[in-house]
Symmetry: C2
Subunit: 733 residues, 2 copies
């Protein structure tokens, strides 16, 4: 249900339930290509897929009939669409296509080699124990779908955002804005959220307890399916229903509720028929209770309503991009899956306004290899494939250069923050998923223990939003573009009789004048015809309808020489869900030491690691203290976040503690530090390698390591290896 | 009204209407002291008050009787308090004290030399025109009290926050958290916000329009006062009322409404009696409508409810500080004064939890001179005075080292972001302003065209908040401290009969057990007495009262050897209102070029300036383009935010445009740049001085200038001066 609804408004970063679907990649001979990549003009792009396991021909043999079955159905859907078959037929065929896709993907997943030994419970324990994040207001019993980020989670998030600012705001010279969260109703009416941003739910008629309808039906049917005495036939039918559930409307779900006699799973009470529940939190702005407002469900609208100011800031020129980092709110009926479906979340959104979809910097990223799962491949039962973004645009798989440019930039950002390239794909929306006005849409999805998770949406939204706000406010949100040469045009305009309008419509006069001025040529044509033929025209505005007669308004056509043309720019919208990316980063970087399941840690990239460095005195010996203090001061001066751990545990135990929170480097002050020249050991988390270096070099070296200016290999080359055991037994303690 | 209410919960960063009060500082011979400051141990602190204008003896002569009058009343208040006079008498005397203080301060302000020619309208025009910030949703008519930050305002804000992180999180090794905005009701009941975070308002009985009561009364009385036929006697009385208005309660205000027959100033309709309006935005969490929630009115509570997790993260040790940066919301009845009173705002709050109020780093800042306006000076009619924070703590003016340490750090941060030290004072809360549990509270106030504005509160809140949440949840929010030596203590504890409790109270059993476990010794004493004498005890909890009998609970006393003691730490809370500071920074840095009132600009410190650098090709000549592009790329690599302005204006006009948005440095690419060695001019905004330097040096030099690693003087020394006129006429264009 929500899938379709949300997609109309927002490119799906947070749409629908998480896909249980998991696709195993197939990597064929394309892979070799990357080895012999032609030399790049400026940027050397390494191939992150180098170590991907090749597809097993035996597995492909098993999958072949399933692939064929998807293809067959995909072809049917296509045919029906070409023939403009009745919508109900197309819908049925699409549902069947989804069923077959799911069967294929489940099989792929079941056959995939178990890559590693991921233990979610163990990771969640670490996240909770070291307070990366945890449920909000737990001492008051907690609220589902709300999380507080502790010091480590907060620092990780803040580093991710800082890097995002660098990747996008700074490097792409975007205009960052920071807009209000409380949003008055008319804005979200225009964007369509008030009417259609909803999920279906049902209520216990006695207790009032609410259930998200699709979740309830799913749980109910799965229970029946698992019962011993359920017949095979019914089981098969239920399986079919479960697959189609996503696309069902209220009536279809209501019928299921009746047919299977569903009651509240908690109390056994009767349930109400399906209710559309709007997912926005509402409140009143001001004390009168008359101004209805919502907490924004996305940050994008703040950018659209400021379009004119931003265009002016950019001296009237296109293209430009505006960006916003901030919190959005969705009143989920039943939040679940930890950080993946929450009520309050941080988004980073970009609206790139352009009149041409070529991109001047496309050349610089065109050789980036990416795992693309096109709509075509999805419909044809084919796996995702690796292509350079240049090829994808050239072949028309990705609609245009600007969209492709942003996809590549998203890809590079995701790798920089620690997403495993083997667990990152771009999935294209299929025709039936995409909003009617959008011309292409790709989601960056990360593979997690919950399946593929949509983390970033990247949509070409055409001129939809600016057009909607123009209609609602009567203020033209458009840019002017200088024509190559002046041209003669016929100007059609509404000529309002302002005196008559003022007299008749009083306080609405301004709105009516603005609405007339904002009419496009089709509307003006209609106005003229209605006035001539019917003697009146009904104008629809945000304050209702107004009947206009020929004494109130006329339509004038004149010839004019124009030097500029007015354009409503297209919008490319990359939209990042920071919490989801953060969760996937944690999953992709959760590790255990060989042979010691208890020693778990996060191999976070230094750039985003919550702290860059730990400072550990070997023991509580007082002689170490001045060195520890001095080093801490110097690290502060170098802007290096760090933690001094002078607790009493053994050095090995303290290393393990810093590993747990993903600290990439640890400095140990020991008895040799006291002697001149003062030296310390520096240890790298992932390799556990140690070197011995002068104390005074530490701040700059760690800073440069943390900023990826130098590599650990470089440090190992420069300084002598330190062979002491981690237990610290060898040290003169 | 709000003054008193808010202060109970929050150290007043955002309390009450802005003081119209403006005090002129008096700087007497103390000033000389700083010249001969004794040498400091580590940090060299410069004296920001060096150039402050000395007090004029003639002015002091005029003020002397007014000062004496304040002192007289201050002495009376003190005497009444010492004598424990009836509260009503003290209240009256305090109101009279405030009247006299205001008369003194108004006179001081009127006699103060006009320091500069500040034109608020001109500044606001610039802020709007270059989109630092502007009203939210303006195309929809806008909402008062909500603002959107455009690219320059957003960058300024983000740089202020980044510097705040460095000053506090990094340098003080604080634990940063990021907690939920949506807060369930019980949390804010415990903190006291649900009951008492309110303003008085009145409603038009017909239209429902609301007015903040004190604003309405003030406007009404001022109108009467300004009318020609109002008698002098009434005018004097009104003046007296206006001064006392702040301290009036609902009944007193209601009486005024009746006496002066107040009606709606808009419609002339009748008004309702005073209504207490809670300033929190409310909503429902989840779909049932049963979980009432609020948008947090401050970020602090998120830290308090996470106290146990944070203490554990800090390995159980005190002291530690947690900090949070985020948005808070207050549903103001009538927002006003631009960014100073808004409905949605960013705060940076610190909660420093400690068991001792000495501070290990106090020595490092003790010689910081600050302008302090103590409660004592306020009561005695004396001006604010300059003291080092060390002196202030030694003399007992500031309660303790930790409070003093944070005040000095706040002071240093404020100077770093561009607050004029001559317009920054710390005002101590007087006894009647301070919450009953607080032992000291100082506000950092900035002088603006709206008067002195509270920008940062710094309060010693003792153990109030943790105690409140402990009471509400039954979960002890306390730390354990190791005793120097084990000691024998008598342990008094409630021994619940868990079986009996479970049977009798069912779902409330856990709450009752928790509440019993959380009882302090006084409560246990009471419990024992009631059980013995009355045969029962009434336990109050968040879910109501429960009657406990001796078969349900008993009180046991035992001797025990303990090694730790439990302490509920004290809290020092510095709380920053980022929007208010940002506004004051803009006012303090708004400048006009000598002799050209139209050329206005912001002399923002490079650290917080929205962009560090402008890159200007002298003209549209195509030969400049590769140099501009290359330089822009190199600046990006050095993380230097910048703006390329290749528009067609003259170079002088483009300098003016970059000055307007506070860009501190501008690089001009001209015909000499094309020649080898490639050089450019670098111009500094405030002095408009220019030097000529090699193109390749630019990124590093500008980065170091922007980070305050080098000074402009240093750059002028290193590179040759460039004497070209700003008009660019001299250039070979």
């Amino acid at each position: 249900m929500r899938n379709i609804l949300t997609l109309v408004y927002k490119c799906s970063v947070f749409s629908k339930s998480l896909p249980a679907v998991t696709t195993q990649y197939r990597f064929n001979h394309q892979l070799q290509q990357w080895g012999s990549n032609k030399s790049h003009r400026k940027i050397k792009i390494s191939n992150p897929f180098r170590d991907i396991i090749m597809a097993d021909p035996k597995i492909e043999e098993i999958l072949a009939p399933l692939r064929a079955s998807v293809k067959e159905q995909g072809d049917l859907v296509r045919k029906l669409k070409e023939e403009k078959a009745p919508e109900i037929d197309i819908k049925k065929a699409v549902a069947e296509l989804k069923t077959r896709k799911k069967v294929l993907e489940d099989k792929e997943l079941s056959l995939a080699p178990v890559e590693e030994n991921f233990d979610r419970a163990k990771m969640e324990d670490l996240i909770k124990r070291r307070f990366f994040y945890d449920q909000s207001f737990a001492i008051y019993g907690g609220i589902t779908g709300q999380f507080d980020f502790g010091p480590m989670g907060c620092a990780l998030k803040s580093n991710m955002i800082q890097l995002w600012r660098k990747y996008f705001i700074l490097q792409e010279q975007m205009l960052e804005v920071d807009c209000s969260i409380l949003t008055p109703e008319p804005v979200l009416k225009a964007s369509g959220h008030v009417e259609r941003f909803a999920d279906l739910m049902t209520k216990d008629v006695k207790s009032g307890e609410c259930f998200r309808l699709d979740h309830l039906i799913k749980a109910h049917l799965e229970k029946i399916k698992s019962e011993k005495n359920t017949k095979a036939e019914l089981k098969a039918e239920i399986e079919d229903i479960l697959v189609k559930l996503d696309g069902m409307n209220a009536d279809e779900m209501s019928a299921l509720m009746k047919r299977f006699d569903m009651k509240s799973p908690i109390s056994g009470n009767e349930l109400t028929p399906p209710i559309e529940f709007n997912l926005m939190f509402n409140t009143q702005i001001g004390p009168s209770g008359l101004v209805k407002g919502f907490l924004r469900p996305e940050t994008a609208q703040g950018i659209f309503v400021n379009f004119k100011r931003l265009l002016e800031f950019n001296q009237g020129r296109l293209p430009f991009a505006a960006a916003q980092i901030g919190n959005s709110f969705r009143n989920e009926i039943s939040p679940r899956s930890g950080l993946l479906r929450v009520r309050e979340f941080t988004m980073c959104e970009i609206e790139h306004f352009c009149d041409s979809k070529d991109h001047p910097k496309f050349e610089s990223i065109k050789d980036t290899p990416m795992l693309l799962y096109s709509a075509d491949n999805q419909e044809q039962g084919k796996p995702a494939e690796i292509l350079t973004i240049g090829e994808a645009v050239a072949k028309g798989i990705v609609n245009n250069e600007t969209l492709g440019y942003f996809m590549a930039r998203i890809h590079l950002y995701m790798l920089a923050v620690g997403i495993d390239p083997k667990k990152l794909r771009f999935r294209q929306h299929m025709g039936n998923e995409m909003a009617h006005y959008a011309c292409d849409c790709w989601d960056a999805e990360c593979l997690s223990s919950y399946g593929w998770v949509e983390c970033v949406g990247c949509a070409d939204r055409s001129a939809y939003d600016l057009t909607q706000h123009t209609k609602a406010t009567g203020i033209r949100l458009a840019a002017e573009k200088k024509l190559p040469a002046p041209k003669q045009v016929e100007i059609v305009e509404a000529v309002p009789n302002k005196a008559a309008i003022g007299k008749e419509f009083k306080k609405d006069a301004k709105l009516i004048n603005d609405s007339l001025a904002a009419m496009d040529s089709a509307a003006l044509e209609d106005l003229q015809q209605k006035l001539e033929n019917d003697g009146s025209y009904t104008l629809s505005t945000q304050n209702g309808e107004f009947k206009l007669t020929p004494n109130i308004v006329s339509v004038k056509k004149t010839q004019k020489t124009v030097h500029v043309e007015e354009i409503i720019p297209s919008v490319i919208e990359p939209s990042f869900g920071i919490g989801r990316i953060l969760y996937c980063i944690l999953e992709h970087n959760f590790k255990m030491r060989d042979g010691d399941e208890q020693r778990t840690y996060f191999s976070l990239p230094p750039t985003v690691a919550p702290m860059k460095c730990a400072v550990l005195p070997l023991s509580g010996n007082a002689e170490f203290q001045p060195f520890v203090r001095e080093l801490s001061q110097e690290l502060i001066s170098a802007d290096v976040s760090h933690k001094v751990d002078d607790s009493s545990g053994s050095i090995g135990r303290r290393y393990a503690r810093t590993d747990e929170i993903g600290v990439p480097y640890a400095v140990t002050v020991d008895f040799d530090t006291i002697k001149e020249p003062h030296t310390v050991t520096l240890r790298e988390r992932d390799s556990m390698g140690q070197i011995r270096m002068p104390l005074t070099d530490v701040p700059v070296v760690v800073r440069d390591l943390a900023n990826s200016k130098i590599s650990w290999a470089h440090v190992e080359e420069k300084y002598p290896k330190f062979e002491q055991q981690e237990s610290g037994k060898g040290a003169a303690a």
